[in-house]
Point group: C2
């Protein structure tokens, strides 16, 4: 490919709407173009990167006996009604009617389509296990697309679905897929990706893992134990606390606390630690605005994922009205008049001498002991794990919180979809059973952006060889010099004829423009042909990451380049 | 791949809803599964066929300097409003609103997206020409999906867009692309595909060609001249007629024609030939039901494509109401009272002594001479070309009408999109110009189905080697025989290790089941390992199309197979 024919503009200025480096560099380098919020077109360099990523994924999926298939992007609502997700998924699913008024949806994931494809095939236990996968466009109407290709609405995803006749067989395959994912990340140049325990969210099932590239610009918070192997998405991390009661249990006492609404104000007024406060956090059910009041230790935050999972329905932070009977700023667990669901976090279990609201304007209680003062309180884990918190596995106070980009996920789905969509098989004993499913996803564009996040400098991406848009970038500095041009032309032809993917810059531009464009294109090896080099009968071979630079004799430059590439693979 | 692990069912019965062979065989062979009207999932065998087709297309597009890019499936209405097609395209375009109420559409073609992608890049003449293409999912809400993959609503398409600074440059590239298409069809095994002149329809532009596989099950009618090279889609074929007037011009005479409504009834009643009748065909404008009355020679049919192109708006066959003032069954060009657009086909030009309706119930005129009796009549070509008709190129009455499946199309678009979307460049003289575009499409799934249509027998598809899901199919007949199994296992491993794509059937099933499954999978070469063959120390190598069958020594079977494959490529 000649650079002067490459469609797309490259420029130096960082676009003002780019908050992460990968986005800025991919816009500056002519990789992508904004079409609508969270919707982009790809130019050739990005398309080449994503195709190489796709091929690596494909090879690894084939290696674990995956069968590449294709599900539709547009699906009838009916199969989503079968699973129940037509109702349970909110606005992120795009819905429309066709010309005959039949409801259709855009695929945001394909569990339903996978069950639909194989439910006739998988009627006997002898057919199991099997896995089908696709690499296909998906659309998710995200509320907040951000960060270029990191969170978009339209994206290409590899999604795989496995079917099993026992939990043990699923687990074995799940581990195999986990290892395949590790190989994929290693091959695309991100061996540093780690897997973390995760929440299964709308996918259903219990055990799941996310593969995370740890980086400050990540959207997810990851709890990592410094003492053992424990790693979990904060959403899924259990919050372990060693609650202690005071030896002297005080009496419940109503206290006038004028103008003290927030937990900080109340604690300052009563001169107590926030850990001694019983804080109320109020939500409402999305479907009907029913109130949910959660009591939690004053210094802790609510993990809304755990809360939602416990409740089994979606919630949002409450808007407290006068009619609700909830006395905002003074909510407490004693004599609550409001009609609402009341929950207690484990951080309050067995504690005494707590401060809490009195459900009466300008009044709080001190001396609260929930087990003594509130009948039938149950405690569950609703708190966010904290930096320095206790590891749920090794028990040491060694948790650190990092940020990460989720570059893949794997789920043990169980029978959620095969039961709801009534997929069955006859087992070896002639009994009817529901197969057990796993599903396994990787977003291709997000992975490309993550590689760029992990491998770039201020001048551009530094693509790993396996996914680089081209392998070699020839710069003919002073292409107006006939000898330079003739030699560079020949080298270009020679490398291409040997199967090397070459981008060739023979424009009449300054070396500065040439090199800054080459930095933005991020090809791992650069060959510089110039009058100065030619005087010494050499070309310079320079690595984009600056890890080496050699002069190769002009006569053997192509062989030298081929040798370097062969060693790098 | 082991056949007993291949997801998908194969069966013998022809499904009752399959009207074409490719559809029936692809359903029977476990290639595809119905999801909704015109929407299918693909199993692995079809996915492998379409990926190979895609790769051939990609190589040929790259060879004519195409740059692979990717446009979104979901696009904002805004870019379609720019081109005007948001309004002009009807129900075939799927539209919906996102969570914020912004109107979105599903891409059914990507001219707008292509202009959007390159309009900043292409601001100087030095950047031209260039071509970008993608292979991507499209959705077209067809009124009548049919024939399996021949006419669907969701499909994968290669669509390419070229940009030029002169008509001559476009034409040069158009020819290059025409040749690339010929190579594509030859490589996928359809060298018999022919190009025909076509109507440009909603794409705009003037010159366009369709690539047609001639087959009785095709949806399109193609006019082919047996005397010269002329080939055109009937929609676009000019209807040439040598009109002659009678020497004796009769007088216009009102005739009572009770109960003679149709052209057949009137001609029978008046004992005249249908060629002597001036037939009225009535349409209505889609937008407001305005009437359009077209007069045409009694024996000819209306080419609605030509009529729509002339009118510049969409029409449908009329529902004639009493209020319209149109006297159904007795419509004629003299004294029409109804408010309507009146058109005359060229078949009536210069003719006399015609029969026509009198716009009065139960009355016709005889002796009509339009040039004499109707003021200001203009004549245009609205008639369908007929079998035996006159070739518009060589002038001989040698037209035959064939049916064809459109497996690709190429269009000279001109400046329709660059003007409406205001894409400009500065030419060498510093003047602002609109680039000239071409666009070039191939539907991948339809091409796969067409290959199957052209290459199959009653037992299954006969895939050409270049697109076959696998290259070799090993049948271990009597796999329960340990020697057969051991040898077949070894051959399978050996061929795979040499890079051959092998499907291996080692099931304990009868030879009949094995061979009928192999026929449905349609792999070009079959290797039969059986106790009988092994007694003679041979394997049978059989071609799916029955063109040859050889016995190869067991010891050198793999080399023999490799040799055959190498020669076939």
């Amino acid at each position: 490919m000649k650079l002067d024919k490459l469609v797309g503009d490259r420029f130096r200025e960082k676009p003002s709407d780019c908050i992460v480096d990968s986005h800025a560099l991919m816009v500056r380098g002519g990789y992508m173009k904004y079409v609508a919020n969270g919707i982009f077109s790809s130019y050739m360099p990005l398309k080449r990167v994503t195709r190489k990523i796709e091929q690596i994924i494909r090879e690894e999926m084939d290696a674990i006996d995956g069968q590449e298939v294709q599900f539709p992007v547009v699906m009838p609502a009916s199969i989503w009604q079968e699973s129940g997700r037509y109702e349970s998924i909110g606005k992120e699913m795009a819905r429309f009617n066709d010309r005959n008024g039949s409801p259709l949806v855009l695929g945001m994931t394909h569990e339903e389509a996978a069950v639909h494809l194989v439910r006739e095939y998988g009627q006997s236990y002898v057919k199991y296990p099997f896995m089908v996968y696709q690499i296909q466009t998906k659309f998710r109407d995200e509320a907040r697309p951000r960060a270029g290709l990191i969170r978009v609405r339209e994206f290409t995803m590899k999604d795989a679905y496995s079917f099993h006749t026992s939990q043990a067989d699923l687990e074995e395959y799940y581990d195999k897929c986990h290892k395949a994912y590790e190989r994929i990340y290693a091959r695309v140049g991100l061996p540093e990706v780690v897997s973390v325990a995760s929440d299964s969210g709308m996918m259903g099932g219990s055990i799941s893992h996310e593969f995370m590239l740890l980086t400050a610009i990540g959207e997810d918070s990851i709890a990592i134990c410094n003492e053992c192997n424990y790693r979990a998405n904060m959403e899924a991390a259990e919050c372990i606390l060693h609650n202690e009661a005071n030896a002297d249990s005080e009496e419940l006492t109503l206290v006038h606390t004028p103008n003290a609404h927030t937990i900080e104000e109340v604690c300052a007024f009563l001169k107590c630690d926030e850990k001694a406060a019983c804080k109320a956090v109020v939500y409402q059910r999305n479907s009907d605005d029913h109130y949910v009041v959660l009591f939690i230790r004053g210094d802790l935050e609510v993990n809304e994922t755990k809360l939602t999972n416990f409740l089994g329905y979606d919630i949002h932070p409450a808007v407290i009205t006068e009619e609700s009977g909830i006395v905002a700023g003074f909510i407490g667990p004693i004599d609550m008049k409001a009609e609402c669901t009341v929950l207690f976090d484990r951080s309050l279990e067995g504690r005494n001498n707590l401060v809490c609201g009195a459900n009466k304007c300008d009044y709080h209680y001190t001396g609260l002991d929930i087990s003594r003062d509130v009948a039938g309180a149950e405690y569950h884990d609703f708190a966010k794990i904290q930096e320095g918190g206790i590891c749920p596995v090794c028990g040491k106070p060694a948790i650190t919180i990092s940020r990460g980009i989720e570059v893949g996920n794997i789920f043990q789905l169980g029978t959620k979809y095969t039961k709801s969509m009534d997929m069955t098989y006859i087992d070896a004993n002639g009994e009817t059973q529901h197969p057990i499913m796993g599903c396994y996803g990787i977003g291709v564009g997000r992975l490309a952006a993550s590689i760029c996040e992990a491998h770039h400098d201020e001048y551009g991406p530094i693509w790993p060889l396996a996914v680089a848009p081209w392998q070699v970038h020839i710069c003919a500095v002073r292409a107006d010099d006939a000898e330079v041009k003739a030699y560079a032309d020949k080298l270009y032809e020679e490398l291409q004829s040997k199967g090397v993917e070459v981008i060739y810059d023979d424009r009449n531009v300054s070396a500065g423009v040439m090199f800054s464009d080459a930095d933005l294109i991020g090809v791992p090896y650069r060959v510089i042909v110039s009058p100065r080099n030619m005087k010494q009968s050499v070309v310079e071979i320079v690595k984009r990451d600056k890890s080496f630079s050699v002069n190769a004799p002009m006569a053997s430059a192509a062989e030298e380049m081929l040798k370097i590439l062969a060693e790098a693979k």
